[in-house]
Each structure stands twice: as structure tokens, then as C-alpha cells.
């Protein structure tokens, strides 16, 4: 069984929102229709997004850490949004575990968004159907793209490679190894939704610096300074500067 998912490394996410904009760009340009924006250039603009980067401050000043936290659909292994859907528009693909919405079946009752504890679903205010992250299902299987680009748009865009993409059920995949080696965890495990997306925690990075490493005993600049001036007659490279 394949379960495609994202693994997001909070240790390297810098909160640049490149994943947000690339996601919006890719998914608003696809043949599933736009991700509608309402009043984009007016007061009180709003729009449909699959992915957001939020920022949290952890700890108390001065010992604080700023954590940038990208959030999109977690493609739960037990998605609570799927069984509540009255039409079957919301479904989980058995072949790769992606949770999708059939926009042609959705009646826009919003019940699935009530059933998602993560707030991953948004109604498109113009198309009046529920939308959510598709893991760029129209990219990752596109044989017209070179294999290196068959990845979600957010993963392609991330400048720090904070987003990994792969099969979390394959123990040898990059994402499974990252979850194992770097303590990947799911969000809100208390509800038993078993999110497929995982997050890699902040890691403490420390360098041990000894005092003698800060002041070099054999500072070459100081030694240079002590060298005697060469005599005027000595040959020089350009035969000019020596005199």
C-alpha cells in the first residue's frame, strides 16, 4: 500500500511562503478551475488556499524560538472528512492514499470541513465546492514532465528543502527515513486520524568553541607585520614598486 505524503522540516523552514504562492499558482492554473479570490485588490480581500505558513513564538523572551509552520491537508490514513460526506465527493484514493474532493459531486454542504480538526478544507466562494490540497495529483503523475519535476509544487518551490515528498509506507523512502531518523511526528495524534503528513521537529545545533580557538596564537597577520621592509634594490615582480 502506498501512502504519499509530505514531511515538513520545521528546523529549516524559514517562513518565506514560497510554498504558499507556488501552490496557489499551480492549483489556480489547472483544469480543475481557479482557486477563487474575492475582492483581491479591495479592502477585506479573501481567497481559497490549500497551504498556509503560520508563525508561532515558542518560549519566553529572551529564550524564544520563532517557528514557521506550514499547514495543508495531512492526507490522514483515517480521514474523518471522508465518511461524513453525504455524496461521496470526498474520498481517499486506495492506490496512493491521497484524499481528494470530486468537484463535480460536491454539494457544498461544508460538513467535511466541520469534520476536519485541522481546518484543512476551504470552500471556494465562487465555485461553491469544497477544496483542499491534492498533493498536486495532476503534477506527480504527469508523464510529460521530467521525473525530477513530478513532485508537488510546494516541494519544488521550497528554497531550503524543508518539504520532502514520498511514500511514508515504504520504509526505505526518503520521507520514512526522515521520520525515523529525525523524530517525525503527526499533528493532533489524540483524535486517531493518523495523518500521513509528518513534521520534523526543531533540532538544537551547538558548536563547542574553546577560548584558544577565538584568539589564534600564531596570528599570521601579526607575524607579517614584524617582517623587515625589503631593501629598495631587491628585485620585485613588476620592478616598479620596490623603489
Amino acid at each position: 500500500m502506498t501512502q504519499l505524503a509530505l514531511v515538513i522540516d520545521l528546523n529549516v523552514c524559514v517562513g518565506c511562503h514560497a510554498c504558499v504562492t507556488s501552490c496557489k499558482e499551480w492549483n489556480t492554473s489547472g483544469n480543475a478551475g481557479t482557486l477563487s479570490d474575492l475582492r483581491p485588490y479591495d479592502a477585506d480581500p479573501t481567497g481559497t488556499f490549500f497551504n498556509r505558513v503560520q508563525t508561532f513564538e515558542v518560549g519566553e523572551y529572551p529564550n524564544t524560538q520563532t517557528v514557521h509552520f506550514p499547514k495543508s491537508c495531512l492526507h490522514c490514513e483515517e480521514p474523518p472528512c471522508v465518511p461524513v460526506c453525504p455524496t461521496g465527493a470526498s474520498y481517499k484514493r486506495p492506490e496512493d492514499g491521497i484524499v481528494l474532493v470530486d468537484y463535480d459531486k460536491c454539494i457544498g454542504c461544508k460538513y467535511c470541513s466541520w469534520a476536519c480538526p485541522y481546518g484543512a478544507r476551504e470552500i471556494d466562494e465562487r465555485q461553491k465546492v469544497m477544496k483542499k490540497c491534492t498533493l498536486c495529483v495532476d503534477r506527480i503523475y504527469d508523464a510529460a514532465l521530467p521525473p525530477s519535476e513530478r513532485r508537488p509544487a510546494c516541494v519544488m518551490a521550497c528554497p531550503t528543502s524543508a518539504r520532502l515528498f514520498g511514500d511514508v509506507h515504504d520504509p526505505d523512502s526518503e520521507v520514512s527515513q526522515a521520520i525515523r531518523d529525525r523524530g517525525g511526528y503527526p499533528l493532533m495524534p489524540e483524535w486517531g486520524t493518523q495523518p500521513a503528513n509528518h513534521y520534523l521537529p526543531r533540532r538544537r545545533t551547538e558548536i563547542k568553541i574553546e577560548q584558544d580557538e577565538l584568539i589564534r596564537v600564531d596570528n599570521p597577520l601579526k607575524i607579517d607585520g614584524k617582517l623587515p621592509k625589503p631593501p629598495l634594490k631587491d628585485p620585485a615582480l613588476d620592478d616598479v614598486t620596490s623603489w
Binding site: V67, F69, V129, P201
Partner: protein, 321 residues
């Protein structure tokens, strides 16, 4: 949650309709057994028309909740897993049952009431009354099955929908009987008061339960960082989104508290007092006022029911920037 008026009107209107049908059927069955002095068929026809009007209005209100009402028929597809789908099936079934039941009474208008073998209305009425109860179960379970909306995830939710809807229907039946079949008024009024009392017990229990509720999710589990002090600095957008509209009621705590007291007063003591006055003065107007006041109270109750439930996704939307 953000209370949607379409759902508030849907649940209160069909609750009253279901309750009224159960009241009418109780009268019919009671008359058949001989416990009650049965009215003529015209009483049931009129009652069934009121039931159909309430159900029809509720159905209309429900379509305002849908983004794509023209696809509403698709909602019957997933009855195996979705309580909403089950409601979508049971609601029209009950509606149709009540309409046919009223029509059978209409065609039996010339006959002497309750002569001969078991009339078809009694059988169909039993099925329809069972559908009314099933519809209460479906409506309640739509909310009670969402386990992380902890204010809703309790059997009390189903009990409240059942008892509040039935009480509303019996209060309406009292007013209707006072105008059309006065011999039934004391039975309907007594049942309404009993149902209101039980509804007060279960609704009060759910209020007490919800006041003591400890949220299972917190910011620590939401972002997976185990630190006692985490503050959101940005929710990722400044313009607002579906997430900031659908799951917040946007009112103050004081407003919420006052709505709670408004519904506690309007749903429980005031209708009982008005019914007592209406019975003492045999005034159908006062009995109708009891229903109207209680219905307004139920609108407030339903608003509060939605507003009070706190969705865990709100943990992610605490600060704009």
C-alpha cells in the same frame, strides 16, 4: 462554530413538524385504544397540512445551506457512513408518510372515525412516527458523531433534538387542538409540559457538561511542540479565509451568555406558564403564543448550540499578524 441560519431554521422547523406528527399520531392511537376521545378525520387532515408546511419550510431552509443546491439529490448516496446522508433519506420519507397519512384521513372523511378493522392510517402512522423518531436520531447524530467537536459529541445532543423537537410539536398540537378539537387539549398540554421538563433536564445536563469540558487538543498538540508557552504571531494571512469565518461565531462571551439565558427562559418556563394560562382561560391565542415564544426560544437555543461548540481548528487561527 459560526451558526448558519439555514441550519437553525431547518432543525427547528422540522423538529416542530416531527413533534406535531408524533402528537397527532398519539392522539389517533389513543383514540383507537379508547383512552382519548377521538376527533374527526378533519383534525388529522389539518394537522398533517401543518406538518407538511413545517417540513416544506425546513426543506427550503436546508437548501440555503448548500453551495450547490441543484446537486442536493446526490446527498442520498452515502447512507452507509454519513448521518447527513441518512437524514437526507429519512426526511423526505417522513414528509411523504405524513402527507399520505393526511390524504388517507381526507379520503376517510365520510366514514365514522375508527370503525371496523385496524385502519390503514394507524399502520402508516406508526411507520411515519417511527420515521419521525429516526429523523431526530439522524439530525442529532450529524452533530454528535463529530468527536472533536466535544460540546456536541455526546448522546445528550440526540436527546436534546428529540425532546426539544417533540416538546415544540406538542405545544403546537395543544394550540391546534384548542382551536379544532378541545377534548384533546389537556392531553397535548400535559405531554408538552412533561416533554419540556425532560428537555430542560437533558439540555441543562449538556450545558453543565459543556461548562466542565476540557479541550483534548491544545496548541502544543496542534503544532506538536511541547512547550508550555506558545504564542501565535501570524496565521499566514491578513485578509481572512473560510477558516476564520466558518468556525468563529464572532460575538462576545457576554452575548453568548445572554443568548443562553434568553433560550433557557423562552423555551422552558414561559411556554409552560402561557400554556397554564391558556388552559385556565381556554384561550387558543395564549396557547399559540406559547408555541411562538418557544419557537423563538428554540431559534436562540440552536444558535447557542452552534456558537458554543469550539472547533479545534481555531487553535491555528488565534492571531492575524
Amino acid at each position: 462554530m459560526h451558526p448558519a441560519f439555514s441550519v437553525i431554521f431547518l432543525t427547528t422547523l422540522i423538529g416542530a413538524g416531527q413533534g406535531l406528527f408524533i402528537a397527532l399520531y398519539c392522539a389517533e392511537a389513543g383514540a383507537r385504544i379508547g383512552w382519548l376521545q377521538g376527533p374527526d378525520h378533519g383534525f388529522y387532515v389539518g394537522g398533517a397540512i401543518v406538518v407538511c408546511i413545517l417540513m416544506g419550510l425546513g426543506l427550503v431552509a436546508s437548501f440555503f445551506h448548500l453551495g450547490r443546491p441543484e446537486r442536493g439529490w446526490r446527498a442520498a448516496a452515502r447512507w452507509r457512513t454519513s448521518w447527513l446522508s441518512r437524514e437526507v433519506i429519512v426526511l423526505p420519507a417522513f414528509f411523504a408518510g405524513a402527507a399520505v397519512w393526511g390524504a388517507l384521513h381526507w379520503f376517510a372523511a365520510g366514514d365514522a372515525p375508527f370503525a371496523g378493522p385496524v385502519p390503514s392510517t394507524l399502520v402508516l402512522g406508526a411507520v411515519t412516527a417511527a420515521l419521525a423518531l429516526a429523523l431526530f436520531l439522524c439530525t442529532g447524530m450529524i452533530y454528535a458523531c463529530l468527536k472533536f467537536l466535544q460540546e456536541w459529541a455526546t448522546p445528550l445532543t440526540v436527546a436534546n433534538y428529540l425532546l426539544l423537537g417533540s416538546a415544540s410539536g406538542f405545544t403546537l398540537a395543544t394550540a391546534y387542538a384548542a382551536a379544532a378539537a378541545p377534548t384533546l387539549t389537556p392531553f397535548f398540554a400535559a405531554t408538552a409540559v412533561i416533554l419540556v421538563t425532560f428537555a430542560l433536564i437533558t439540555r441543562g445536563a449538556s450545558l453543565i457538561r459543556n461548562a466542565r469540558l476540557k479541550p483534548r487538543s491544545n496548541l502544543q498538540s496542534a503544532i506538536g511542540i511541547k512547550h508550555p508557552r506558545i504564542v501565535q504571531k501570524s496565521q499566514g494571512m491578513m485578509g481572512g479565509a473560510f477558516n476564520t469565518r466558518e468556525f468563529f461565531h464572532g460575538r462576545t462571551r457576554a452575548f453568548l451568555r445572554s443568548v443562553k439565558w434568553v433560550f433557557l427562559v423562552l423555551v422552558f418556563p414561559v411556554p409552560v406558564a402561557l400554556m397554564a394560562g391558556g388552559l385556565a382561560l381556554s384561550s387558543p391565542a395564549l396557547l399559540l403564543a406559547a408555541f411562538v415564544v418557544q419557537y423563538v426560544g428554540l431559534l436562540a437555543e440552536r444558535w447557542f448550540f452552534f456558537a458554543q461548540s469550539n472547533h479545534p481548528q481555531n487553535l491555528y487561527y488565534q492571531a492575524v499578524a
